[in-house]
């Protein structure tokens, strides 16, 4: 039973627009509003109002970010040249030198330890073999430091790229596979690293939440996501960084999760990733 008293008291219209109604409640409300001009008016108003709030909030965030950047530039421009250089030097120190300095400190510790060992060795307390071992450890530490610096630079580059808006994001619409065989859906990797969207159509019976496990052709787990909920189109959408996928075949196993029950298979989706053109 759904009447306007219930719609009003339970804020059904707002909750429907925000996608917060249960599937059952949404179904009842949809059957009701199909022939109810008053609820349709309320729905259109609620949508319009929510759109307005979100847009205004988005504009505020953009304005705030721009104002902060301008304030920083203005503050820098007011400083004298020597102070500007000092700020720059501090920024470089914080961004680049400080982490490297910490690693160098560790190397210094190892150097000192090695020197101590050498002294002890000269005094006949340590064998030459142990000193050699320490030298090897020192070399390993230096290699680790170099690798860490490379990884840091690469991560910073990826982060900068991920923060950029991306056009033409590849979107893969996947239906559950009914049998074995080669995947019919193919995805060509983009020439530059970016995001890939997988849209999975889930068949009923629907579960409160789902988990997804992505495996490569050898069955190795590549990625796993949990506590995923269907959108209003009964689909699950996943955004994955393209760097996660190498050319080859992949399967996505989707399992439905219901409280107090074992995870139940809700579909298997397959696709083939082709190398960038």
């Amino acid at each position: 039973m759904m009447d306007h008293t219930h719609v009003e008291a339970q804020e059904v219209v707002d909750r429907y627009v925000m996608g917060k109604l249960s599937a059952e409640e949404a179904e009842r409300f949809e059957e009701h509003y199909l022939s109810c001009p008053e609820c349709l008016d309320r729905l259109e108003l609620a949508e319009s109002m929510q759109r307005g709030f979100k847009r205004a909030a988005g504009q505020d965030v953009a304005r705030l970010a721009a104002a902060r950047q301008l304030a920083l530039v203005a503050w820098l421009s007011r400083l004298g040249r020597s102070r500007q250089m000092a700020v720059l030097a501090m920024a470089v120190l914080v961004i680049a030198i400080l982490p490297a300095g910490l690693a160098l400190r560790e190397i210094g510790e190892r150097d000192r330890e090695l020197a101590r060992e050498r002294e002890r060795s000269a005094a006949g307390s340590q064998s030459a073999a142990e000193a050699g071992k320490l030298r090897a450890e020192l070399q390993t530490s230096r290699r680790d430091l170099a690798r860490e610096r490379e990884a840091r630079a690469s991560a910073a580059e990826q982060l900068a790229q991920a923060r950029q808006p991306q056009a033409n994001v590849p979107i893969l619409f996947l239906d559950a596979e009914r049998g074995a065989g080669e995947p019919s859906v193919r995805l060509r990797l983009p020439s530059k690293p970016g995001w890939i969207v997988l849209a999975l159509t889930i068949d009923p019976p629907y579960q409160p939440s789902y988990r997804v496990i992505l495996r490569d052709a050898k069955g190795r787990e590549v990625w796993r996501g949990g506590d995923l909920r269907l959108d209003e189109r009964d689909s699950l959408s996943l955004s994955l960084p393209s760097t996660l996928l190498a050319p080859g075949d992949y399967t996505l196993a989707v399992e439905g999760l219901a409280p107090g029950r074992q995870p139940a298979a809700a579909g298997r989706f397959a696709f083939r990733v082709l190398p960038a053109a």
């Binding site: 039973m1 759904m2 009447d3 306007h4 008293t5 804020e11 707002d14 925000m18 917060k20 179904e27 009842r28 949809e30 059957e31 009701h32 509003y33 199909l34 022939s35 109810c36 001009p37 008053e38 349709l40 729905l43 259109e44 108003l45 609620a46 319009s48 109002m49 929510q50 759109r51 307005g52 709030f53 979100k54 847009r55 205004a56 909030a57 504009q59 033409n168 994001v169 590849p170 979107i171 893969l172 619409f173 996947l174 239906d175 019919s184 859906v185 193919r186 995805l187 060509r188 890939i196 849209a199 159509t201 209003e232 189109r233 009964d234 689909s235």
Partner: protein
Amino acid sequence: MSVDAVYQPDEAGIATDLVRRIAAGDAAAEVSLVERYSRGLLYLLRRLGAPPELAEDLHQETFRIVLERLRRRELDEPAGLAGFLRGTARNLMTAERRKTARRRTDADSEGLESAVHPAPGQLSAVLLEEEAAIVRRLIGEMPTERDRQLLLRYYVAEEEKESICTALGLDSLHFNRVLFRARHRFKELLVRFQERQGPAAHIG
């Protein structure tokens, strides 16, 4: 499904009457059915994600299927006509999505172009801006900072009513009052804007 008798006549009774008359070959009943459910069905299809043109097509297709079925045979539960219409529309939309998915078997540039959501038209863009402007005015008219926070937390952060009331130390009655006034004022300002713009000023 029964609805409040003050606002709307008995849906079950009307649906049963329409189903029986259509099965008996009454063409006027077919017109009444389309008039009664047309707007709601179109809204539902848009809500399910159909772009305007597709929504129009599926809207017509839903009525075609339902009317052909009703002409052949009555429904087992004539009162469930709305459910039958809703189910048919949803199935058509699902089939359409599957069809689109099959067409896009490779992430080629042509497929991607068609997957990109079209930018809003000029009029829609103006309306979207106006909605944001009305919201700013609305927030500015709120008598207290607490009421402003209430609206922002409800509409932007989509927090639950209970958690907002707890956080702001409000009772449910005050919450409802603020929301009611805000909705009323938003509608007032929106209608005023739409009147200035003419009949086309609606975002579909």
